[in-house]
């Protein structure tokens, strides 16, 4: 029953864009209809997903729905629905007559395909919906394909996603050669030749890693997220890259008794993605590129949790599994919520100022207070700070990592422990990065005309954003309520724990988290009231900023995003390789000069483009073979004939 609700929901999303094709290009009727369909789809889908938690998992030949599917289904149905409402204000059909219909068509298709992936029970169906999702995403990214830059990033995305698909072909082919069927069933222990299992695991890590954006397979991600319309970025960063995680988790659940180095590998990969992701984010001055790199960071955190869970599975440590996997899955939700919140807020900023360049913004908090509030909430959440949801998932992962010291008895695997300080580093860097982003965009004084004439976003844009803030607050304050769902996911991943696995609530102080959060908020309110009261009592006078006695402080004197991050970028220059265009020796009374600094994408600009150019050079060096001389062609035939005659 509930699976039919989910399928209905999928259909709703898949069809949401279709009617619009038959409406006028400059009217918004089609768009409204699309939103209605999407909303209906989401309501049905979420209802079905939650309903299926009350019944035993569905395991058919076509459809398979268990805790894992549900956990991924919920954000997949929630975020795009909000995104399409947001689109009503952000991407009005009337303002984008020639690509609005296409955008909505593929927006719905991508959502539907994402949901389809999570319930696909055999590899053929999986690959089909997977590719529908990947290709719809391509068309979403290239919504404005008249812009060469957009075509460029679209091309990079297309190549990466197809490479990933080919890896998945190999993955499922190997699985079939072991299990003998296309069904996504757990490998029988006896059948698993270690080689095959390892091959499957590595292929999965690479194939799904491309989609998830694990370093160094992330090369497509920053550009695509930056260039796409913001509600598309929200969809991609919020749920689409998570589908890579889903694949990894799902395949992991099918491989019994992994060797411990698998988990170690994932932990290492996660740590690297986490640290480098946030470090690269620090180097950015394009608001959406910055957010995109943070997606890589958060994917890293998720992968750390997953790695810990795998270690736990190899060592038979239920607590690692529960804490690691629950943390990872919860972080999948959380990142889906606060990252789409951030992208939507960024979209509101771009919609109001027509620039993504942070150093041209500033002081927007006065013009757009609601957006500023939403962005601040998202920033606090993504930094993993209490009392919002990011803290909860990171707490779970921390606890698991600390336990790997051997706390709580049982065998220790202290290798994991060293990930804890790394996670702390990630958190601190994230704080630095979001202080920079929030500060340069919303605080201080406007740095350009763009920012000076900003206006608050329409309510159909801020509405979805506030809804997301609500979700973040809910998970942050009442984690106990979501714990059961997470546990179902964990049990779907590691069935052996379903019977006698430890409960999440016993391993993690979720109740205390709520208490601390509430107390924090209470004290904050108290303090602010007190302060306001004192200020009122003692009187307050407005004045200009006191700039240490400097007579005429101007907006251009403020710290820019680049200067804010300059020290940290310096620490990590060995990996960031920042390009600095500094003015040379200046004469006395020099005129206007420019100073620009930019952090290029390491893998894409540093490795891939050169190697592709090289490859193209190699191939074109063979062109002479087809020089148009029929004599040469005939010679080929003779030579080849003789070669084959001498074969044996």
């Amino acid at each position: 029953m509930s699976e039919w609700l989910v399928i209905l929901g999928i259909a709703g999303h898949a069809l949401s864009g279709v009617p619009g094709l038959f409406f006028k290009r400059d009217g918004d009727a089609g768009q409204k209809l699309a939103v209605v369909l999407a909303l209906m789809g989401s309501v049905l889908g979420i209802a079905g997903a939650l309903g299926s938690l009350r019944q035993p998992p569905i395991a058919g030949w076509v459809i398979k729905m268990d805790g894992l599917s549900v956990i991924f289904l919920l954000p997949i149905f929630l975020v795009p629905a909000l995104g399409s409402i947001y689109g009503l204000g952000y991407w009005k059909q009337a303002e984008h007559p020639h690509n609005g219909q296409r955008l909505r068509l593929f927006y719905g298709l991508a959502t539907a395909a994402l949901a389809g992936i999570t319930i696909a029970a055999n590899s053929i169906l999986f690959l089909v919906v997977w590719e529908i999702m990947a290709l719809s995403a391509f068309f979403l990214i290239t919504t404005e394909d008249e812009d060469p830059a957009v075509r460029e990033v679209g091309w990079v995305y297309l190549v990466t996603t197809h490479t990933a698909t080919l890896f998945l072909f190999a993955l499922f082919a190997v699985m079939r050669s072991v299990t003998g069927s296309f069904a996504l069933t757990a490998l029988p222990d006896t059948a698993v030749v270690p080689g095959a299992a390892t091959a499957i695991f590595l292929l999965a890590v690479i194939g799904f890693g491309f989609k998830a954006g694990i370093m160094p397979l992330h090369m497509w991600l920053p550009g695509a997220h930056a260039m796409a319309p913001s509600h598309v970025s929200a969809l991609m960063s919020g749920v689409l890259i998570k589908i890579g995680i889903y694949g990894l988790v799902r395949i992991g659940s099918l491989l019994p008794h992994p060797p411990v180095w698998w988990g170690g590998l994932l932990l290492a990969a996660g740590t690297i993605s986490g640290v480098l992701g946030v470090v690269f984010a620090l180097g950015q001055h394009d608001l959406k590129r910055l957010l995109a790199y943070h997606s890589i960071e958060n994917i890293g955190i998720i992968v750390m949790g997953l790695g810990l869970a795998m270690v736990g599975r190899s060592l038979g440590r239920a607590d690692y599994v529960v804490l690691g996997l629950a943390g990872a899955l919860l972080h999948v939700w959380n990142h889906g919520l606060f990252k789409s919140l951030l992208f939507l807020s960024a979209g509101a900023v771009i919609h109001a100022t027509h620039t993504r360049e942070m150093d041209h913004l500033g002081g927007l908090a006065r013009a757009m207070p609601r957006t500023a509030l939403c962005f601040a909430a998202g920033a606090v959440a993504i930094c993993g700070l209490p009392p919002l949801n990011g803290f909860v998932s990171e707490l779970l992962i921390y606890l698991g990592l600390f336990r790997s010291l051997g706390i709580g008895g049982g065998t220790a695997w202290a290798g994991a422990a060293f990930a804890a300080p790394a996670l702390a580093l990630i958190g601190a860097l994230a704080v630095a990065c979001f202080v920079k982003a929030f500060g340069t965009v919303f605080l201080g004084a406007a740095r350009s005309e763009h920012a000076r004439h900003a206006h608050e976003a329409a309510s159909n844009m801020t509405g979805p954003m506030l809804a997301l803030v609500g979700c973040c607050l809910f998970i942050g304050l009442a984690p106990l309520l979501v714990a059961p769902v997470l546990e179902q996911g964990v049990h779907a991943w590691a069935p052996e724990l379903a019977a006698d696995g430890p409960a999440l609530a016993t391993l993690a102080p979720l109740g205390w988290v709520s208490v601390a959060g509430l107390v924090l908020i209470g004290l904050f309110v108290l303090g602010s009231v007190g302060l306001a009261e004192r200020v009122r009592a003692c009187g307050a006078a407005p004045a200009g900023t006191w700039d240490c006695g400097y007579a005429a402080p101007g907006p251009t004197m403020q710290y820019t995003s680049s200067s804010f991050a300059q020290m940290l970028v310096g620490f990590f220059a060995w990996v960031l390789r920042p390009r600095v265009l500094a003015p040379g020796e200046q004469p006395l009374f020099s005129g206007a000069t420019r100073f620009r600094s930019h952090v290029p994408e390491l893998v894409l600009d540093g490795v891939l483009r050169p190697s592709f150019r090289f490859g193209a050079k190699i191939t074109s060096s063979f062109r002479f073979l087809q020089a148009g001389s029929i004599h040469a062609y005939l010679v080929y035939i003779v030579v080849f004939l003789i070669l084959l005659l001498l074969w044996r």
């Binding site: 908090a365 601040a376 606090v380 930094c383 993993g384 700070l385 209490p386 803290f391 600390f402 336990r403 010291l405 051997g406 706390i407 202290a414 422990a417 804890a420 300080p421 790394a422 702390a424 958190g427 601190a428 704080v431 202080v435 929030f438 500060g439 340069t440 605080l443 201080g444 102080p509 205390w512 601390a516 107390v519 924090l520 004290l523 904050f524 303090g527 602010s528 302060l531 004192r534 200020v535 003692c538 307050a540 006078a541 407005p542 004045a543 200009g544 900023t545 006191w546 700039d547 240490c548 402080p553 907006p555 403020q558 710290y559 200067s563 804010f564 300059q566 020290m567 940290l568 620490f571």
Partner: protein, 302 residues
């Protein structure tokens, strides 16, 4: 119950005294009489009475900064045990909440600084967040050592559990951790030799330059919050370096207060005998702190 009350009273009341003691110590070293030990109480009371000036560029963030800074420090103070007494709030994993509360405070104080749109405060905010990026891992390596030693993830048991026995089994690691935590405490609380709370060269300051624009009650909150932060982190450190316990509960309170004052004196001495490092050396020391505590956990695990 009484102990909880005492805990709260100390947490709220003692911090300014520490600052006073530090100041007095420095004055003595400088051969001055110096302000009275209770000077900071007067200052705070005065500031609460003063009118305030708000820059026209600022928003609610500017006012939220001081509040959050103080609130987070106080809440963190409820998580650390004082002396041999357990913390009022203590659960497995509270150490992470402890660390992240300060992160939250940092987020808002730095944002408040940026809200003024002043180049100097931006500079200060940048330095603050940059250095804490290095302080954080050091703190967590320390936590790893303590957790490994105590086999627990709650500050109370971590800090009251293994000592003094801990010194027997893992003295070396504890020395390393203590050293690195001391550096962290000095940096996080902007003390010499890493920062100078009462210099007048804005270019060289870290924390103080962030609050140039605050005034009146808000500024008072900031100063008070900073004092509480010093107190809390000092209490954390004190457990490791001086895990003395007398049998008597109330005597332990005395011991604790004495210890805290001694720590204040120590800080004062350090500030008097050392010159402030050039800014570029601060990261170096923090990396050193990380390495120290990392080495500490390695020693334990070998």
């Amino acid at each position: 119950m009484n102990h909880v009350i005492v805990h709260i009273v100390l947490l709220l009341g003692l911090p300014p005294l520490l600052l006073g003691v530090i100041g007095k110590t420095k004055a003595l070293f400088a051969g001055r009489v110096g302000p009275p030990v209770l000077q900071w109480y007067y200052d705070l009371a005065k500031l609460l009475q003063k009118g305030s000036v708000f820059s026209t560029t600022t928003t609610w963030v500017f006012r939220a900064g001081p509040v959050v800074g103080l609130v987070t420090a106080l809440l963190a103070g409820m998580l650390v045990p004082l002396g041999s007494h357990g913390a009022p709030v203590s659960f497995s994993g509270d150490l992470i909440l402890f660390a992240y509360l300060f992160g939250l405070g940092r987020f808002f104080t730095a944002s408040a600084a940026l809200d003024t749109g002043s180049a100097f405060e931006g500079m200060g905010a940048a330095r603050e967040v940059t250095f804490s990026c290095l302080a954080e891992p050091a703190l967590f390596f320390g936590f790893l050592v303590l957790a490994k030693l105590s086999g627990s993830l709650s500050l109370t048991t971590m800090l009251n559990g293994p000592f003094p026995s801990g010194w027997g089994v893992a003295g070396a690691s504890l020395v390393l951790v203590a050293a690195s935590l001391f550096i962290v405490v000095l940096v996080e609380n902007s003390r010499i030799p890493f920062d100078d709370p009462n210099t007048h060269l804005e270019l060289t300051m870290i924390h103080e330059v962030m609050v140039l624009d605050h005034s009146g009650p808000a500024f008072g909150m900031i100063l008070y919050g900073a004092a509480v932060k010093l107190f809390v982190m000092g209490a954390l450190l004190l457990h490791i370096v001086a895990p003395f316990q007398s049998g008597n509960a109330w005597a332990d309170w005395g011991l604790f207060v004495a210890g805290m004052l001694a720590l204040a004196v120590l800080i004062g001495v350090v500030e008097s005998v050392m010159a402030r490092f050039r800014l570029v050396f601060v990261p170096t020391f923090l990396v050193a702190a990380c390495l120290l505590s990392a080495f500490g956990i390695v020693l334990l695990l070998r």
